[in-house]
Amino acid sequence: MLEHLPALQVAIALTVAPVVMMLGRAPRLSWALTTLACWATLAVALLLFVRVADGTVISYEMGGWEPPWGIEYSIDAANAWVLVIIGLISAIVMPFARKSVEQEIRTSRIALFYSAFLLANAGLIGITITSDAFNIFVFFEISALASYALIAMGNDRRAILSSYQYLIMGTVGTTFLLIGIGFLYIMTGTLNLGDLASRLPEVSDTRTIRAAFGFIAVGISLKLALFPLHLWLPNAYTYAPSMVTVFLSATATKVAIYVLLRFVYTVFGFEFSFVDLAMAWLLMPLAVLGILVPSLVAVFQTNVKRLLAYSSVAQVGYMILGISFASALGLMASILHLFNHAITKAALFMALGCLVYRLGGVSLSQLAGAGQRMPWTMGAFVVAGLSLIGVPLTAGFVTKWHLLLAALEAGFWPIAAFLLGTSLLAALYVWKVVEVAYFREPEQPDASIREAPLGLLLPTLLLTASTIVFGVFGSFTVAYARTAAAALIGGAP
């Protein structure tokens, strides 16, 4: 049984999804089943995580077909990390989802909604776990199609338009990815990532391979919302149902970043990517702009959900910046931020979900007085907000500290100064919200507004507390991120 864990990791969500879809008349049951599936998936992810934490690599042959002919799933410290992020977030978001989804989604569609959620979940897991390039494309499409459906179910009519926007951009991205993978296949005759890695050096000095690298890099950059390819993200996050925003913000872009890392480090190799093609010099300016511009835009937003969406684009910039230092420390900081930002941003969007549940929306004017009416929710928002800024003893600080060290190590002093400056921008946009919630009197005081129900509040508080826990005991995540970085730099999965 235990040797089949890699298959189970994807299979649970994938097989439960159609069952859930058939439970259209029993929305509660569909929720319960989805929750169970998510928890089981988390358990599997944790089991895998424990096994690879010391640096071992698990290789699993799908259906017993030997790689490189069959499809191989392989788990090392790097992707086990991402699997845990996906598992953790979906497991925590499900208890939160029950009431939130009942309010935001029409009852007749709830089963469909959860079914799509499971598919999106399975897609993301599949992308992360598989060692087959074509498989990555397929799972990208599974998760993307399911995500379009999830976003379109938002009860704001603009949700449909933003879903369409995402569909166009996402399809362009995955098509580019497919073209790149096709080129690789033409040149090497293989799709297995490890096999690709060993065959590429012979042909790497060709225009086709360089073009393949370009297509893949641009395609994935679209999916991970690298500035200026981020245009789909703010609308999608703003108009999607609350729980979808929580889930996607914490996982979708992270998975894409992981895939980028996998291609850059494992398939093409450090030499080819950073020395021959000088990728760092392409990534760094984009990362710097990607931090600065969306942060500035975020400062001027009046819808808090959109504000945080722009902040997400900026945070992707931080992760890309770490990669662009082309050093073990920088890579480690980026991997660290995958997790730290996932819990931070998920906690923030959950707090917004609580606010939406009670207030009906989260434009700044609606938030006036929320600090007094919903003290726990706003408390969670403040704490998670501090983590987003990167205040000491929060998860965000652990990342920032290492990112700054990486900048100093690589000799980029101005970048270090720039990073400190931009965390002030983060302080500015978080504080804007806090000030309104605590120190502005509501225009029409509504005494009926109470604290969010426990079902919403508890997961929010749990995740918020974890931003403190992983901030205080940062040495655990740091040590693990170091192993994961070593696994990526080390070569074949």
Binding site: W401, L404, A416, L420, S423, E435, Y438, V478
Partner: protein
């Protein structure tokens, strides 16, 4: 045992919040927490006086870097000062908040406890990282106190406050901390400093500037505006936090950094120590000149604080032990003087709702205790015997002589004259002039809970004149550099 004072503050926080609905109980608990905290700090005093350095490593954050506490004389004095004056301020705050009819008392007292918790954390920090963490908590926890009234003016002031303090600390101090860690490989506070032999003086010079401007709470110009902006807060906040805990945390950090990170010998090699000396001297005089022009009493006191803080920075930048000792003593002396002055300003506000000096003519006859205390506090800040302030200024002057900076000696003298120029007129107007309009009929002293604290701190100013010797002996311990084994 080291963390006991901080645990007391946290327990107090919980109790204050839990008893929020019962005003009398909550206020009683606030005072009790302050008293318990003072006792908890006091029990550590004998050990530190005997040369012991109690140390506790709470947990490790990254390898080699963690939250660590170590109590040395300067931190001991700062913690005693902050927690001791908190007892008096807690009493005063009860009288003031009721007298001035402020709202949200529970939030107010609760954040006060958090502020004192973090001030103690700063005092006991064993490395620069720990200090930085508590420095930021102090900034964040005092924000709600500054914005307390919730009016547009209060929010504006609080924005300036948070913006400048958070901005300088993140942009400059965090940078300096990080680079120090990167270059020196440690952030532990070590007698004699950690920089010598590890950090190139050229880099050290830049680091010094980053540190001194990064410690925004020391209010060096041009990053001093947050302090006047913070005056929108209720007066107990201005009194304890913006005359004692917060601003003294700033100059305390300056002293810690110069004595324990740079080391006085290494500091003397840096070109920028002279530069920063002149920046501090400029701040001292310029802030005094601005203070003279302020009609709002609290604003005048705020600029006076900006000026007095620079005395302490000068003490550190003169790079000799006499001046450093003078600077450390001034932390205590100025604290007692300035808190008395703020208490008086608050008492006048509670009794009369007046905030402008020009409206306060002839009040002394109605409020004799308040004005007597104001006079004593003013003399202490100016530095006239028989009040404590004279000793710290004496040491600072001696230090300037010893360092051979005649200009600084002259600057100190000029500043003393300016001090007289802005602190004595309010007393004179109150005592000698006749009220302009409407008279002072119906005005009485503020409630007992306001008048008693200010009398106590005024007496404290007197007592410090005689207690300077043991204080200097205790503080002298921080300048002892252990022989290198």
């Amino acid at each position: 045992m080291i963390t006991l004072p901080m645990l007391v503050a946290l327990a107090g926080l919980v109790l204050i919040v839990a008893s929020g609905r019962f005003a009398a109980l909550r206020d009683g608990l606030t005072v009790a927490t302050a008293a318990a905290m003072f006792a908890a700090v006091l029990q550590l005093l004998p050990r530190v006086r005997d040369g012991e350095r109690p140390r506790l490593e709470l947990f490790e954050f990254f390898p080699g870097l963690g939250i660590t506490f170590e109590i040395e004389p300067l931190g001991m004095v700062f913690a005693l000062l902050a927690s001791g004056l908190w007892i008096i301020t807690a009493l005063y705050a009860i009288g003031y908040m009721r007298g001035a009819k402020e709202k949200h008392h529970t939030r107010f007292h609760a954040f006060f406890a958090v502020a004192l918790f973090s001030a103690t954390g700063i005092a006991f920090a064993g490395n620069m990282f720990t200090l930085f963490v508590f420095y930021e908590i102090l900034t964040l926890s005092t924000y709600p106190l500054v914005a307390h009234k919730g009016s547009e003016e209060a929010k504006q002031g609080a924005r300036t406050y948070l913006g400048l303090l958070l901005g300088t600390s993140v942009a400059f101090m965090l940078m300096a901390v990080l680079v120090t860690w990167w270059l020196a490989g440690t952030l532990d506070f070590t007698p004699g400093g950690i920089m010598a032999g590890r950090v190139d003086p050229a880099h050290g010079s830049i680091l010094l500037v980053l540190f001194l401007y990064g410690i925004g709470k020391a209010a060096l110009m041009p990053f001093h505006r947050w302090l006047p902006a913070a005056m929108v807060a209720p007066t107990p906040v201005s009194a304890l936090l913006h005359a004692v805990a917060v601003v003294k945390a700033g100059v305390f950090t300056v002293l810690k950094v110069t004595v324990y990170l740079f080391g006085l010998d290494y500091l003397g090699e840096l070109v920028t120590s002279t530069l920063m000396l002149y920046v501090a001297a400029f701040t001292m005089l310029a802030a005094s000149l601005i203070a003279i022009r302020q009609d709002n009493l609290k604003a005048r006191l705020a600029y006076s604080t900006v000026s007095q803080l620079s005395y302490i920075v000068i003490g550190a930048m003169l790079v000799n032990s006499v001046a450093a000792l003078g600077g450390s003593m001034h932390i205590v002396m100025h604290a007692f003087g300035k808190i008395t002055l703020f208490f008086c300003a608050g008492a006048i506000y509670v009794a009369t709702k007046k905030t402008e000096i020009s409206e306060m003519d002839g009040l002394a006859r109605r409020m004799p205790f308040t004005y007597a205390a104001f006079f004593i506090g003013a003399l202490c800040v100016i530095g006239i015997p028989p009040l404590g302030g004279v000793w710290s200024k004496w040491h600072l002057m001696m230090g300037a002589f010893e360092a051979g900076y005649g200009v600084i000696v002259v600057a100190f003298m000029a500043s003393t004259l300016l001090n007289i120029g802005y602190l004595i007129p309010p007393v004179v107007r109150g005592c000698l002039l006749t009220p302009k309009d409407g008279g002072t009929n119906g005005i009485r002293e503020a409630p007992l809970l306001c008048v008693l604290p200010l009398t106590l701190t005024a007496l404290g100013c007197l007592a410090l004149f005689f207690a300077a010797e043991p204080l200097a002996a205790l503080l002298g311990g921080m300048l002892v550099v252990a022989p290198v084994p």
